[in-house]
């Protein structure tokens, strides 16, 4: 069994003791990739500038990148592979991806790797379990690969898109109801609760029982609790609404985009073997961050209504009702962006807030106004977020996100 502690590295320095460092080559499942590769990653974390540990780590990164790309391809994902006569398209793509993954800055060698391990609390790799190190390594590498692939293809993360679609299919089943919320957004509820709704459209909820919408961080907790007691996606969705109904201080209906964002987040934490990156933020800081994000979204929406949208209304390009619907679409878009880092294509938000009769007129009449609204909202939101103190602390973390 391979061990490479600080003491052993020091022995190598002194030249009195030598030991080869194994790579993952030739390993089968039963010989435990996670243990062997975990030790290689650990040796690298302890001694990144040691050429032998670096080379072993690089080989591990290369085989995992290549393996993951082929895995994604086998799962049906479109990859930006360049088929050149002189090369291996998977190998070439793996090389491009590793070039960014292991890039060093002037002050810091391999910051992507070291910042991540620091963030997940592995500051003394000597003492850490190789199995845990390997788990975090694969999460980091696969998350990075997918982020880069999204960027190369200039589109959203295929896994998240796929996951959202699967849940949207479940949520259109007859047992789930849908209504427009107070600001035009689509809200979901369980049909069996429709007589006792505690909010949403005033015509369906009695004012005396109306409650506030559930804050996102509390929704996240409910979605997590529901996951822990479910063994299928359908059961998970049902349990979410049951728990929501039991939380009587809030509405028992939920904004669809927030529900999907929370599902993506919990999925990343427990289920996804494909490396959706968890935030890694401690809970208290996460809550502060959420608060900052919600505040920034609210401020942007006020600004949007008072400037961009009222400008379009003044010029007669849209009416007041359409301005309100565009504001709701902007809220959804910003919420998706902030909570999952991913958004649907812009026209999808248009279709969600506008009556079906208007959908065909998107290109001819609404495209410019709608996309200007969304783009201005995103720019304003980013500017506001940059000034928030909690976010400032994580500015490097969000820079590439």
């Amino acid at each position: 069994m391979l061990t490479l502690t600080k003491k052993e590295i020091f022995a190598i320095v002194k030249g009195g003791w030598r030991r080869g460092i194994t790579t993952c080559s030739g390993l089968t499942m039963t010989s435990s990739i996670s243990d062997s590769c975990g030790r290689i990653v650990r040796a690298f974390l302890i001694s990144p500038l040691n050429r032998k540990t670096f080379d072993s780590f690089f080989k591990t990164c290369y085989s995992h990148t290549l393996g993951y790309l082929r895995y994604l391809k086998a799962k049906g994902f479109q990859l930006p592979l360049e088929h050149r006569s002189d090369g291996d398209p998977f190998g070439d793509l793996a090389i491009d991806l590793l070039g960014t993954f292991l890039r060093s800055t002037k002050d810091k060698p391999f910051p992507i790797v070291f910042d991540y391990f620091k963030k997940v609390g592995i500051s003394d790799p000597d003492q850490a379990d190789p199995d845990d190190i390997y788990h975090h390594f694969t999460l980091l590498l696969r998350g990075h690969i997918r982020q880069q692939l999204s960027r190369l293809k200039a589109q959203q993360d295929p896994q998240i898109d796929h996951l959202k679609r699967r849940f949207k299919e479940i949520l259109i089943a007859p047992r789930f109801g849908s209504m427009q919320g107070s600001s035009g957004e689509e809200c979901l509820f369980l049909i069996q609760h429709s007589r006792n709704l505690r909010g949403g459209n005033r015509s369906q909820a009695r004012p005396s029982t109306s409650k506030l919408p559930i804050p996102y961080d509390e929704l996240l907790q409910i979605v997590e609790r529901a996951y822990l007691k479910s063994t299928s996606r359908t059961a998970w969705c049902l349990n979410i609404f049951e728990l929501l109904n039991e939380t009587t201080e809030y509405q028992n209906l939920v904004k669809k985009h927030e529900l999907l964002a929370a599902i993506v987040s919990v999925n990343a934490k427990y289920i996804d073997a494909d490396g959706l990156q968890p935030t890694g933020l401690p809970t208290a800081e996460n809550a502060l961050l959420m608060r900052d994000i919600e505040e920034a979204i609210a401020q942007t929406l006020v600004w949007l209504g008072e400037t961009v949208l009222s400008g379009f209304v003044r010029k007669g390009r849209i009416n007041g009702d359409e301005a309100e619907r565009f504001r709701a679409a902007s809220e959804r878009y910003l919420s998706d962006l902030a909570h999952t880092g991913e958004t649907d294509p812009i026209p999808q938000y248009f279709r969600e807030v506008m009556p079906e009769s208007e959908h065909d007129r998107y290109l001819s009449e609404y495209k410019y106004i709608f996309e200007t609204t969304i783009n201005d909202a995103v720019e304003d939101f980013k500017e506001r977020l940059k000034k928030k103190t909690t976010v400032l602390k994580y500015r490097d973390y969000f820079k590439d996100g």
Partner: protein, 284 residues
Amino acid sequence: MHPSAKELRRFLENRLDEPSAGRIREHLQQCEFCRGFCENQRLFLDSVSRAAEEAIPTKALQLADRLYKDALAGKIISLEPLLSEVSAPPLHLAADGDKEFTPHVQNLTTLCSESPEIILRVMRDLDKGQDYLQLISDNPALSARVMVQIPELKREFITDDNGQATLESGLPDAPEKLTWQIKMPEAVFSLEPLVYDPDKTEYAEDIILETQRKDKIKVTFEGKTEGKQISIRILELDGRTDFGRVKVSVSQQNVSVFKDVERNERLSFDLIDANDKINIRLFQ
């Protein structure tokens, strides 16, 4: 309650005891989440195992080399005295006769760095009465043409291709008490042999060299009747043009020039052999 991802991974790698594995098998029969996780994880690990069997292409190895060198760029490596190293007295054999053994070199102190692995020996050549440094590493990038610094004495030395540097003036007593460090170059450029026309006696040619990190220099080759020369001007360092003073080392074979230059200042170097490569290193 679902098994943890760690338990599932251990299950997939046959690293759980039978009762625990049995519980997981039972759970997997009824849980689509955990089943999906295991299927994906197994596919991924199979794919990685197959990829690990393949030889790494040259392009990937070249990338590894570049990434490693980029990580070292400009780095200061501290050296610590290597403690309790007791060297055995030299073995005196009968064949040596009665003649008393007199060493020609004396090891004044030995220092080392753990990461990366480097040993620095501070030596005294007793015959020449001169001190010198010897850097030892199994990776030549860490020992050849690097800068050894003693900050409190404001002294700097560039090692040669063998990792040696001569100390023109001696060291104070107890050199192990000094702070020793190695400064890696910010940028390294290598010029391949020049192609020149022997019939032309006077000519000049400019070449711009740039690293991936955006260090940029202009090299001017000049052929004159009295010999061939290059002059170097630094244009950018790490993408910046406001880089202040830079120490430049130019070497060919075992001859080198080491000089502080300002932006826009040129450093000239007389070529030893137009058919041999030239190594240029920038330190800051």
